[in-house]
């Protein structure tokens, strides 16, 4: 499977590494060249030597998405720092490029819920954190 990950912060880069390790073809797009270091960190060889692809560019630039290989992507992960950016680029991936599987990180639970109802696959870390806090609190600090 060809996976395109836009936004290589903590989450994006970790998912990129594990997807590559699982044998997928992985391309990462990030506007900050420094993010590349996050992909190399803790690895024995560089991201490219391991078979990964890295493109510097802004997610909303069609050219950058194309350069990163969106046209042949089977899966698209939107994990930039901006909820709205993620929601917009995921829709571009779906509607303009017909990517089959798109997964969007949305910090705001309300937006995650609503766009989820509209058929987008959203992941809200905030929601998970809230649930875990609640569960831990109810469990008396276990």
């Amino acid at each position: 499977m060809f996976v395109l990950i836009v936004g290589a912060g903590r989450v994006g880069s970790a998912v990129a590494k594990s997807a590559l390790a699982a044998g997928h073809e992985v391309s990462v797009l990030d506007e900050d060249p420094l993010s590349h270091e996050r992909l190399d960190a803790g690895q024995t060889q560089s991201w490219e030597d391991s078979g990964g692809q890295f493109t510097v560019g802004t997610a909303l630039e069609t050219d950058a998405l194309v350069q990163a290989g969106i046209e042949r992507a089977d899966a698209f992960i939107a994990s930039t720092a901006g909820d709205n950016t993620n929601l917009v680029i995921a829709q571009l991936a779906q509607k303009r490029f017909g990517v089959e599987k798109t997964i969007v990180r949305v910090m705001d639970p309300a937006r995650a819920d609503w766009y989820g109802e509209q058929g987008m696959q959203t992941i809200s870390p905030t929601k998970h954190a809230i649930e875990m806090f609640e569960r831990t609190l109810a469990g008396g600090g276990e």
């Binding site: 909303l60 709205n84 917009v88 829709q91 309300a110 609503w114």
Partner: protein, 225 residues
């Protein structure tokens, strides 16, 4: 009419003032605290502090009863999101979005956010208006309908001078819709005669500009300069 405006920059503020002067109800939403504080005194209850891409902020502003939502923040993603949510979640059928980067215009269109207004495009159009090529002025591009409305000043040596509208065989896909003469405009009839100095308004399929220009301003005299 009740309008919600996201983004209290120059555009948002001035739009809000204009609408308030015209007796419309307005809520301006600004997420940058210092910018909000700077205009709080002027706009009082008509400005709210918050991120307009947060659903509860829109709900607090009463989006359920808004007739019009205008997104004019400096961020295209935010403008798209505000309009998309307004249209699809809160069923507000009139939205207007500002496009900051003209290269994002396609994204707005793809996601059905119309009209999307780009200041760059507007300024370009103004420049065209000031320095018309072939004396032709683009007044309006009806992109969805694939039509354009242009204005031309009829040159002295134009082949159409002295001709009746009925006798002018314009290319397929073009039509004279109005003539401005001596400061007043009228809708021409078949027997209206075109005079030098008239300003004619035409509606046409895109791409016919040059062909049409040959009929009214063959040497490309700039209009009224």
């Amino acid at each position: 009419m009740y309008a919600i405006i996201a983004g209290a920059g120059k555009v948002g503020r001035n739009l809000a003032s204009e609408l308030i002067n015209k007796d419309h109800e307005v809520t301006l939403i600004e997420s940058y605290r210092p910018a909000y504080l700077a205009i709080e005194e002027e706009f009082e209850h008509a400005v709210q502090y918050g991120d307009a891409t947060e659903l509860w902020v829109l709900e607090r502003a009463g989006i359920q009863r808004a007739d019009l939502v205008i997104a004019v923040t400096g961020d295209d993603e935010d403008n798209i999101l505000v309009c998309q949510v307004a249209k699809e979640k809160y069923l507000c059928d009139r939205v207007i979005a500002r496009v900051n980067n003209p290269r994002n215009h396609d994204h707005f269109r793809l996601l059905g956010i119309m009209p999307a207004v780009s200041a760059t495009d507007l300024i370009l159009r103004l420049i065209e208006h000031e320095v018309p090529r072939y004396g032709l002025v683009h007044l309006l591009a009806l992109e969805e309908e694939r039509l354009e409305i242009i204005e031309l000043e009829v040159a002295d040596d134009a082949p159409t001078v002295g001709e009746k509208v009925a006798d002018i065989e314009l290319p397929e896909g073009s039509l004279i819709i109005s003539v401005l003469r001596g400061g007043t405009g009228f809708v021409p009839k078949a027997d209206t005669t075109i005079e030098a100095g008239d300003e004619v308004l035409l509606v046409l399929d895109p791409g016919l500009e040059e062909a049409i220009t040959a009929y009214f301003a063959p040497n490309g005299h700039p209009a009224s300069l």
